[in-house]
């Protein structure tokens, strides 16, 4: 006899397979929340300036990432980029009724190092612009500047500063990550607003800045909560993979098992 108290599963595996198409559609709609700057939002000098900054950073990152991942750069960074791309599709519940998406800049910087993180974000943004028309093709430089250079750079900087100030423990690393991930989102948003003031239009943006700041503080809280939840899980199972927690690792002290000289025990 089957136990009668077993709750009927809400959906069977076959149902889930059927829902696959629908979930993809939802995913596509959800991805809208990760905003990418389209073409034509910023004027030519601003676009060129951010493009040059992005290209320079990526060129530097291509060289520096070899120090983080040695000659395994291409396969490991590629798989990590595929991970971010997938992780950005997960719909995380954040606070009452609202859900958020990972942007992943700080998560990547702490997991695999800032230079590899810049490369992964760049690649993800390129794929989104070229294969999904999400974010302008001319604005790739601007988007890389916002989500690669600013979010990763500032986030990792804050993380390193706090990591140095906080105790060298797991919770110290997680706290530093939380603050860094939280700040990275409004920082990127405010950089966008700044770029828009410089090179967008002659419209005074006081209310827009206030609105964007407020919204992005909330998005930042979601990003921070998700980042810490994911990082905590990786720290629990494979702390050796976490670039930003390398200082927590210590050489295991080998216990001396040398046998006592014969006769000494008596």
């Amino acid at each position: 006899m089957l136990p009668t108290v077993v709750e009927r599963p809400r959906r069977t595996v076959a149902d889930l397979r059927c829902e696959r198409g629908r979930s993809q559609l939802q995913t596509m709609c959800n991805k809208v929340a990760v905003v990418h700057v389209p073409d034509g939002f910023l004027d030519a000098p601003t676009s060129v300036a951010t493009g040059v900054l992005a290209a320079g950073t990526v060129a530097l990152a291509l060289r520096k990432a070899r120090a983080e991942l040695d000659e395994r750069t291409a396969p490991l960074a590629g798989l990590t980029a595929a991970f971010v791309f997938a992780a950005q599709m997960i719909n995380f519940p954040v606070a009452a009724g609202t859900s958020g998406h990972l942007i992943g800049a700080v998560l990547l910087a702490v997991l695999v190092g800032p230079w590899t993180a810049v490369l992964c974000m760049t690649v993800v943004l390129m794929v989104q612009a070229l294969l999904f028309a999400d974010g302008g093709v001319l604005a790739i430089g601007t988007n890389v500047t916002l989500m690669g250079v600013v979010a990763v750079g500032l986030g990792y900087g804050v993380f390193r500063l706090l990591r140095a100030a906080l105790p060298r423990t797991r919770s110290g690393v997680l706290t530093a990550t939380f603050v860094a991930a939280f700040l990275s989102v409004p920082a990127a948003a405010m950089t966008f607003v700044g770029l828009f003031v410089v090179g967008g239009s002659d419209v005074p943006l006081g209310p827009v800045v206030a609105a964007m700041g407020g919204i992005h503080l909330l998005i930042g809280l979601g990003e921070a909560a998700i980042t810490v939840a994911v990082l905590g899980a990786v720290l629990a199972v494979r702390p050796d993979l976490v670039h930003g927690a390398a200082h927590l690792r210590s050489a295991t002290a080998l216990a001396s098992r040398r046998p006592e000289p014969a006769g000494a025990a008596r």
């Binding site: 034509g40 291409a74 590629g78 997960i90 995380f92 070229l130 294969l131 093709v137 001319l138």
Partner: protein, 260 residues
């Protein structure tokens, strides 16, 4: 993931044999970039700007018709613009300058032009990029980027990402099936305690897979470069076809400057 060969990243690809499909991928990328440049260069505040945008729109829609990209797909491509529609809609309200009355609302003229221009530019560029994605397979696109001298390492990272996006997506989907089969329900904050570790183990699996892929490649003689056949020479005719779109847009822009 879908039925299309090539998986999630090729979801926007539409198999076909149109002249646009047959064009070399790097020419298509150059064409889309040049078209976007012309569109962005169209001055927003010029009185003839709406006409010029209409001209660009006709040009890009004709390419879509030649490529056999149906209107529904183009409209779905525009979904990515939605967050910026709000931004653009706000501009007529907050911009200074002379006001006009529209349906009882007092709107700024320059704000209307700026907001409309932003939307028009973004829309045109998204349409062109949607056609590029619909007529070019991800792997072909990668070869195009390689021919445009994107750094080798970046091309390889892109290649690994495109190759493994489906594997990772499949992993994610299996985890979701497993989770929901065990009665998981999302939507509550406590779900973060499940989704966090799930995402964490997805990362660990991806990273470990990367290590295995690297070892497998080393054992097959990988030296940091990927073997590639010699690139076929591109004839002048292909260039002419590829540059037709930006050329038409350029003519529209020029006639605006001359006649406007």
């Amino acid at each position: 993931m879908g039925a299309a060969h090539g998986g999630a990243l090729a979801a926007r690809y539409l198999a076909g044999t149109s002249p646009v499909h047959r064009l070399e991928p790097h020419l298509k990328v150059v064409s889309v970039l040049a078209f976007a440049l012309v569109v962005v260069a169209t001055p927003v505040h010029a009185p003839w700007a709406p006409l010029a945008y209409a001209g660009h729109l006709v040009a890009v829609l004709s390419v879509a018709a030649i490529a056999g990209v149906d209107p529904g797909r183009l409209v779905r491509g525009l979904v990515v613009e939605i967050p910026f529609v709000g931004f653009a809609l706000l501009m007529p309200f907050v911009a200074p300058g002379p006001r006009v009355e529209v349906l009882g609302l007092s709107l700024s003229q320059s704000g209307l032009a700026a907001g409309g221009g932003l939307l028009a530019k973004a829309t045109l560029s998204v349409l062109a990029a949607t056609i590029l994605a619909a007529t070019t397979e991800p792997r072909e696109l990668l070869r195009g980027l390689e021919r445009l001298r994107l750094p080798q390492v970046l091309v390889q990272i892109l290649m690994f990402m495109i190759r493994y996006a489906d594997v990772v997506g499949g992993e994610l989907h299996r985890m979701r099936v497993a989770r929901e089969s065990r009665g998981f329900r999302g939507g509550r904050v406590s779900a973060l305690r499940v989704l966090g570790p799930a995402t964490g183990s997805l990362f660990v699996r991806c990273f470990e897979r990367g290590e295995r892929v690297h070892l497998a490649m080393l054992s097959r003689g990988y030296t940091g470069r990927l073997p590639a056949g010699p690139a076929a020479a591109v004839g002048g005719r292909s260039w002419a076809v590829a540059l037709a779109l930006p050329a038409v847009a350029g003519v529209v822009l020029l006639s605006g400057f001359v006649l406007g």
